[in-house]
């Protein structure tokens, strides 16, 4: 039985039924019918056929709050992911948000439709065809089009990142052959799509001859850094998130900032924080900007509340309520701007601010946009 192997691999058998996972789960707090503890228990008690037919399988945000606190080290995220692999075999799938547009872009890229238009790279941004440092753009050009109506401006952060690289004298390679990193396909159980995209990306990186990959996207960062090596062997290049890159440069004294009087709070994206343990780099950068006041939310670092939705599936009332909860928490700090380091958190929080008629007097900004604006020319 395939399920038995999954249970063994993800330590699900060691579940103590303590319920810390359900207590930590942002979904369970709003929708009591969903419980990670019950789901793990069910996997041990009911048959594989029944389990993989369950629609609860697609409710999980894979935010990692439960696995982080589990005393038995059950890897609930991976348990969900592998069970989803089985579920799509019997055509039990999540409900795609945004009419499945983003999923179909990934499958187009799988079929070599990649001649990416680089016209969004304006003249003030310098890029090269070959070099040591490669900037992995990710999906932001697509997001910029799809989420234009909610003012998410995903490309702004990408452009800012290239600007920052330029300002420390690095001209990055931006490849027109780049594909989706496969993050969403991986977490929604479409392993075949993921592995095809990953292989093509690894080929592209090898051909470019880059020794260092910089990303402004937290999801792409964890996918390339931690998930690619799991399946395709050791990487012969270094992977850095833009926040780590900036933090290094700040420490070396290569970057200095203008004075500002902004009051900000920082939202830890789950992929950068809980997945990769990078809590300090973004905070170091924020503290290095003179005059900027960083006010932490009550739940920060590994306890940070998820932005409410992930991998473009199952966005419901429950997810909206999580986002409102997050924004309320941010507003109570008195900060005027919420800083995040993930384009999707940016989109989701902007989406909630945009509709529903809530009155949040805040701005959502990407870390790299803030830094690019604050750099002393």
């Amino acid at each position: 039985m395939k399920l038995d192997a999954i249970i063994e691999k993800t330590n699900a058998y060691y579940c103590l039924e303590c319920g810390i996972c359900t207590g930590s789960c942002p979904i369970s707090r709003i929708n009591p019918n969903y419980s990670p503890r019950l789901f793990v228990e069910k996997s041990l008690l009911i048959s594989e056929e029944e389990l993989i037919d369950d629609s609860d399988l697609w409710t999980c945000l894979t935010c990692g709050a439960c696995s982080k606190r589990c005393p038995s080290l059950v890897d609930y995220n991976d348990f969900m992911r592998q069970t989803r692999n089985l579920a799509i075999e019997i055509d039990n799938r999540g409900i795609c948000t945004h009419a499945g547009t983003i999923q179909s872009i990934a499958s187009l890229q799988k079929k070599d439709f990649v001649k990416k238009d680089l016209s969004w790279i304006t003249d003030d941004l310098k890029i090269k065809d070959k070099g040591e440092v490669l900037f992995f753009v990710g999906c932001s050009p697509y997001f910029n089009i799809i989420f234009n109506d909610i003012g998410a401006n995903s490309l702004e952060a990408t452009k800012a990142s290239i600007k920052i690289l330029n300002s420390v004298g690095t001209e990055p390679v931006v490849s027109p052959d780049e594909r989706c990193c496969g993050h969403d396909a991986y977490w929604t159980g479409e392993f075949e799509t993921f592995s095809q995209l990953a292989k093509k990306n690894l080929d592209m990186i090898e051909k470019s001859g880059a020794k260092k990959i910089v990303l402004s996207c937290a999801e792409g960062y964890t996918t390339i850094k931690s998930i690619y090596p799991k399946f395709f062997g050791k990487l012969n290049f270094e992977v850095r998130h833009i926040s780590q890159f900036i933090a290094e440069k700040v420490e070396e004294g290569e970057l200095s900032f203008k004075e500002t009087d902004l009051k900000v709070t920082y939202h830890d994206p789950c992929r950068l924080g809980r997945f990769e343990g990078e809590y300090d780099a973004p905070r170091k950068i924020l503290q290095a900007i003179p005059g900027l006041e960083l006010i932490e939310m009550p739940r920060n670092r590994e306890n940070s509340l998820c932005c409410g939705s992930s991998t473009w599936i199952n966005c419901t009332q429950v997810n909206k309520k999580i986002q409102v909860e997050k924004l309320k928490e941010a507003q109570q700090t008195g900060a005027s701007t919420v800083i995040t380091a993930c384009p999707k958190c940016n989109i989701h929080l902007n989406c909630t601010m945009h509709d529903n008629g809530f009155h949040f007097d805040m701005k959502i900004k990407d870390l790299s946009t803030l830094v690019a604006d604050a750099i002393l020319a």
Binding site: C96, T101, S104, I105, L108, K111, D112, F113, K116, D117
Partner: protein, 138 residues
């Protein structure tokens, strides 16, 4: 060598455009047979995914037939369609697919002749652009 016939998917609103298709059939007016008509209840139902999926599964072009301005049976379906198509044009550009492969036609005229002329013209235009992968991948 046989003449190249592009695969064209035609998302056709069941109101004005489809009445046009019916009329063309009733009057036995010829139009290219390589255009596959997929009736939709209203073009407001079209999503970028439907268009992108058509390309993914081997279509050389996608044509969308909507009702004329102010003639939508559901008041604003063709406006929704316009927004979706504009978004998809942008997406196609950065996906490396020539945006000319996506066509939109507003049908105010429900005559069979008009329908057949739209089909013939679009087919000719796509025949000149050529098959999708062979050109774009080069």
């Amino acid at each position: 060598m046989p003449q190249y016939k592009p695969n064209i998917i035609f998302y056709c609103c069941e109101w004005n455009p489809y009445i046009g298709a019916d009329n063309a059939g009733a009057q036995e007016i010829q139009y290219p047979a390589n255009i596959r008509i997929i009736p939709v209840n209203c073009t407001g139902r079209i999503t970028p995914k439907l268009i992108l999926n058509a390309f993914e599964f081997g279509a050389d072009a996608v044509l969308i037939g909507a009702c004329g301005k102010g003639e939508c049976h559901y008041i604003s379906g063709n406006k929704t369609c316009e927004a979706v198509v504009n978004e998809t044009f942008e997406l196609l550009k950065i996906t490396g697919i020539d945006p000319d492969r996506l066509g939109v036609e507003l049908f105010s005229d429900i005559s069979g002749e008009y329908f057949a002329s739209v089909m013939t013209n679009f087919n000719e235009k796509i025949s000149q652009i050529g098959p999708l992968l062979a050109k774009e991948a080069a």
